[in-house]
Each structure stands twice: as structure tokens, then as C-alpha cells.
């Protein structure tokens, strides 16, 4: 039971070679590019979505922050599509692996913070102390703010991993509960199946929201540092 529960989170290999690379390379195939002005419906809706998201997300940045727009837009599209594809049965979600989320979060966060420290050192250091703190509290508060700054990449990665993993685990558990009840008590199995359906809708929302939150926080760190 235990082994089966987490079996879907094992990074898949094909004859010892990591298939996770191929799985990560799948989502871009679903987002076609086009050199025409008038496209088919898929490309038209995708382009409209991307335009909407980028406008909504990049208006708050100045010119230097907007150089990150390609990075942030590809980030949110990647996380959203990977999460949504992971909801399909028997599929593998790369974002459940902490290693991958750390690999996404640490460079982005470090890039934002380092560029902030390099270009506007005083401002970046001033972020370590909130306005209006009483004087005796300052040393402690600086330490606390430094810790909260350094924990940001960890929080980003772990947030995404935990949410997606927990969602998948819940779906699996409730599915197995349905399976178990289906042989003995069919009506309660139907009730549990209804719960599963509701959970699925939640999972779809969570998939999209987590992508949004991740990207939003990175853009927030960027905004503070440009």
C-alpha cells in the first residue's frame, strides 16, 4: 500500500535512462507557434491567454523588470501545463519533485536578489528593516528579515512541491477509498466518488493557482529589486 501510494512520484526511467527529461519537454509541444496573423482556434486562444497574462503580470514592473517578461511568462506557462498534464491518469508530474522546483526557484530568486543588491544596494539592504520599528528591536528584526529573505527560495520550491504532491496523494487516497467501498457498500462509494469529482475540480484550480502564485512571487521579488 505504501509503495503503491508513492509509486506515481518516482521519477520514471526507461531502461535506466531518465524519461523525466522527455516528460518535461512535452508541454512545449502543446503550445504551437505560428507565423500567420490569423491562426486556428488553439493558437488563437493560447496567444490571447498569454497576452492577457503577460499584460496583467508585467504592468507593475519598470523597464528593467520587464526584461524578465519572457522568463516569467514561460515559467507560468510551464508550471501550469505541467500541473494540468499531471492530472491525467498514470502520468508523472515533474513539479512534484523537489529537486526540479528548487532548480526553478533558487536561480530565479538569486537572480532577482543579486541584481537588486548590485544595482540598488541601499534599497535592497533597506528592505531588511521594516519602517517604523522601535529602536531596541532593530538588531533582532534585521536578523529575522534576513532569515525570511534567505528562506524565500526554499519556500517557493516547497510550496509548489507540497501543494501538487498533496493534491495527487489525496486524489489517490480517495480513489482507493472508492475502490475499497465499491465492493462492499456501493452507495457510500458513490458518495466518495462525488467527493473525488469535487476534488478533481479543486485540483485543476490548484494547478493553475500554484503556477500563478509561483510566478507572482518571483515577480514580486523582482519588483522589489529593480
Amino acid at each position: 500500500m505504501n509503495e503503491n501510494l508513492f509509486a506515481s512520484f518516482i521519477a520514471p526511467t526507461i531502461l535506466g535512462l531518465p524519461a523525466a527529461v522527455l516528460i518535461i519537454l512535452l508541454p512545449p509541444l502543446l503550445i504551437p507557434t505560428s507565423k500567420y496573423l490569423i491562426n486556428n482556434r488553439l493558437i488563437a486562444t493560447q496567444q490571447w491567454l498569454i497576452q492577457l497574462t503577460s499584460k496583467q503580470m508585467m504592468t507593475m514592473h519598470n523597464a528593467k523588470g520587464r526584461t524578465w517578461s519572457l522568463m516569467l511568462m514561460s515559467l507560468i506557462i510551464f508550471i501550469a501545463t505541467t500541473n494540468l498534464l499531471g492530472l491525467l491518469p498514470h502520468s508523472f508530474t515533474p513539479t512534484t519533485q523537489l529537486s526540479m522546483n528548487l532548480a526553478m526557484a533558487i536561480p530565479l530568486w538569486a537572480g532577482a536578489v543579486t541584481s537588486g543588491f548590485r544595482s540598488k544596494t541601499k534599497n535592497a539592504l533597506a528592505h531588511l528593516l521594516p519602517q517604523g520599528t522601535p529602536t531596541p528591536l532593530i538588531p533582532m528584526l534585521v536578523i529575522i528579515e534576513t532569515i525570511s529573505l534567505l528562506i524565500q527560495p526554499m519556500a517557493l520550491a516547497v510550496r509548489l512541491t507540497a501543494n501538487i504532491t498533496a493534491g495527487h496523494l489525496l486524489m489517490h487516497l480517495i480513489g482507493s477509498a472508492t475502490l475499497a467501498m465499491s465492493t462492499t457498500n456501493l452507495p457510500s462509494a458513490l458518495i466518495i466518488f462525488t467527493v473525488l469529482i469535487l476534488l478533481t475540480m479543486l485540483e485543476i484550480a490548484v494547478a493553475l493557482i500554484q503556477a500563478y502564485v509561483f510566478t507572482l512571487l518571483v515577480s514580486l521579488y523582482l519588483h522589489e529589486n529593480t
Partner: protein, 329 residues
């Protein structure tokens, strides 16, 4: 050989963008000498890269003979951008871009990929149940009729289930719920999204169409205005006639006014002379009358006065007697 090909495109996107921004600095007239140096430097750089791309080692000024199928267009531009990032003095080498493109045109031996492009199909292939193409049903129709593919599908599913090739596990119910939600969503909101996408495309076309129509309308308005102006020019003479008439009337009025004034002035002077004459006549008459009266009164002596008064009294007595006698009748 591979390393040179791999190292050059490995520039980061921001550096290429920075180099690309320098493409916009065309016509910098203050750096003529630097241009010549840059040109030779660029030739040197591409000359050194050339042996990596060709089969034969060459000198700097020799012609390049390529392996068939390689195109140097993008590569030479990447070389220039790499050279620009390497040597900051080359940043103003933007003017070299078009020149290099023309120079490397001799290397374009392959077919260009952009034309002719085959037309895209308007709709995708028809599928049944979203997964199985129609052609499969048509393929099985001659042998098994309409129900053939369905029986095949059912048999396959039951075979997989009974032989536990597909195991019913927790994942099955998850799959059922996910696919159920997906199918429900697609059935319910599919046409809406399709219409939305069509509307997006239509909006794009409508924008372009409107731009075209606005341009046509603008030109049409200009034509109409020009025509109306020409028509107005034909009718200008009315305006001139009216103005001419107005001026003639004004002249006439002024002339008459002056004429009247002259008449009045002359009459004034003549009336003065006449009234002077009348006054003199009257004065003379009065003077004469006064003189005659004065002399008559002077000439009446006292004797005559007494006689005259006595005569008047006698006449009066006579009249009184006559008057007394008369009323008796």
C-alpha cells in the same frame, strides 16, 4: 570543428539583444575611421572562423568555399554580435549588418524555406469520441459494417480487464473523475471557447479591414472635397457680380448725397440774400410811416384841433337826436 559552431551561438539572450540594439545606430558620422578598422576586424574574425566551417584552410583574403548545405547568414551576424561583445569598439558596427548580408549572398545555395508554403487545411481531421479518427471506421466498414469498430473496442476493453492487463486500482477512479470533469467541461464550454477564438480572429481581420476602409474613406473624402472645390470655382463669378453691384450702388449713393448737400448749401446762401432784402424793405417802410405820422401830427395846429373837436361834438349831438327819433319807429 564542432566547438566553433557550438561556442558562437551560446551567447545569452541579453547579450544578443544588446548587440541587436546597436544595429539601430546606423549612420554614425563621427566614427569613419573606426568603421574602416571595424570592417577589417570583422573580416579577420570571420576569416578565422571560416576554416572551422569549410573543408580547406584558407587565408584571410581568400574566397570561402562552403560545404554544400551550410548557410552563413545567421552565423555571420552572430559572429558580428560576438565580436561586438568581445570588443566594445565594435559596438558601432551596426552599419556592417546589411553589407555582410549582401556579401554573404553568394553562400545562399540552398532553397529558402519560407516560400512556396503549402496552404494550411482549414479544419482538422474528423474524429469520433475525440480520439479515434473517422478513417478507422471507414476502413472497417466494408468488412464489419457499422458496429464493427464498436465491437472491436468493447472486446479489447473486456479482454484487458479480464486478463488484468489493465488493473482496476485507485487510479481508475481518479481517471474516471478527471476524464469525466474534462468531458463535461469540453461539452459545456467547448462551443463558447470556439466562438471566442473565432471572434478573436474576426476582430483582427476587422481591425485591418477598418484600417483599409478608413484609408479609402479618407481618400474618397479628399476626392469629394476637391470636386466640390472645383465646382465652387465655377460659380465664383456670382460672387464677383454681387460685389461689383454693391460697389456701384455705394458709389451712386455717395454721389447723390453729395449732390443734395450742394443743393442745400446753395439754397442756404440764396435764402440769406432774400431775407436780407425783405428785412431792408420792411425797415424802410416802417421808417417812412413813422416819418409821415410824425410830420402829420406835428402839422396839426391847436386851432385846427379845437375846430375838429367842436365839429365832432356837433356831429355827435345830431346823431344822438337821430338815434332818439329812430327807436320810436
Amino acid at each position: 570543428m564542432e566547438t566553433a559552431q557550438n561556442s558562437v551561438p551560446a551567447r545569452s539572450g541579453s547579450e544578443l539583444r544588446n548587440a541587436g540594439q546597436s544595429w539601430g545606430q546606423l549612420g554614425d558620422a563621427t566614427q569613419v575611421e573606426g568603421r574602416v578598422q571595424n570592417f577589417h576586424l570583422a573580416r579577420l574574425v570571420s576569416g578565422h572562423l571560416a576554416p572551422a566551417l569549410t573543408d580547406f584552410p584558407i587565408g584571410v583574403t581568400g574566397t570561402l568555399r562552403l560545404r554544400p548545405g551550410l548557410s552563413l547568414t545567421m552565423l555571420s551576424r552572430v559572429v558580428l554580435s560576438a565580436a561586438a561583445t568581445a570588443a566594445p569598439s565594435l559596438k558601432n558596427a551596426a552599419f556592417l549588418g546589411p553589407g555582410v548580408l549582401q556579401a554573404t549572398r553568394t553562400f545562399h545555395t540552398g532553397q529558402p524555406h519560407l516560400a512556396p508554403v503549402p496552404p494550411l487545411p482549414e479544419y482538422g481531421g474528423k474524429v469520433r469520441y475525440g480520439l479515434i479518427p473517422e478513417e478507422f471506421f471507414q476502413f472497417l466498414y466494408p468488412k464489419t459494417g457499422v458496429t464493427g469498430p464498436y465491437v472491436l473496442g468493447t472486446g479489447l476493453i473486456l479482454y484487458a480487464l479480464s486478463k488484468e492487463i489493465y488493473v482496476i486500482s485507485a487510479e481508475t477512479f481518479t481517471a474516471l473523475s478527471v476524464l469525466g470533469v474534462m468531458v463535461y467541461g469540453i461539452k459545456k464550454y467547448g462551443p463558447f471557447v470556439a466562438d471566442f477564438a473565432d471572434k478573436l480572429n474576426e476582430q483582427k481581420l476587422a481591425q485591418l479591414e477598418e484600417a483599409k476602409q478608413a484609408s479609402i474613406q479618407h481618400i474618397q473624402n479628399a476626392i469629394d472635397m476637391e470636386k466640390s472645390q472645383q465646382a465652387l470655382v465655377q460659380k465664383r463669378h456670382y460672387l464677383f457680380d454681387v460685389q461689383r453691384n454693391n460697389i456701384a450702388m455705394a458709389l451712386e449713393v455717395t454721389y447723390r448725397e453729395r449732390l443734395y448737400r450742394v443743393y442745400k448749401e446753395v439754397k442756404n446762401r440764396l435764402d440769406y440774400h432774400i431775407s436780407v432784402q425783405n428785412m431792408m424793405r420792411r425797415k424802410e417802410q416802417e421808417h417812412m410811416i413813422n416819418w409821415v405820422e410824425k410830420h402829420v401830427v406835428q402839422s396839426i395846429s391847436t386851432q385846427q384841433e379845437k375846430e375838429t373837436i367842436a365839429k365832432c361834438i356837433a356831429d355827435l349831438k345830431l346823431l344822438a337826436k337821430k338815434a332818439q327819433a329812430q327807436p320810436v319807429m
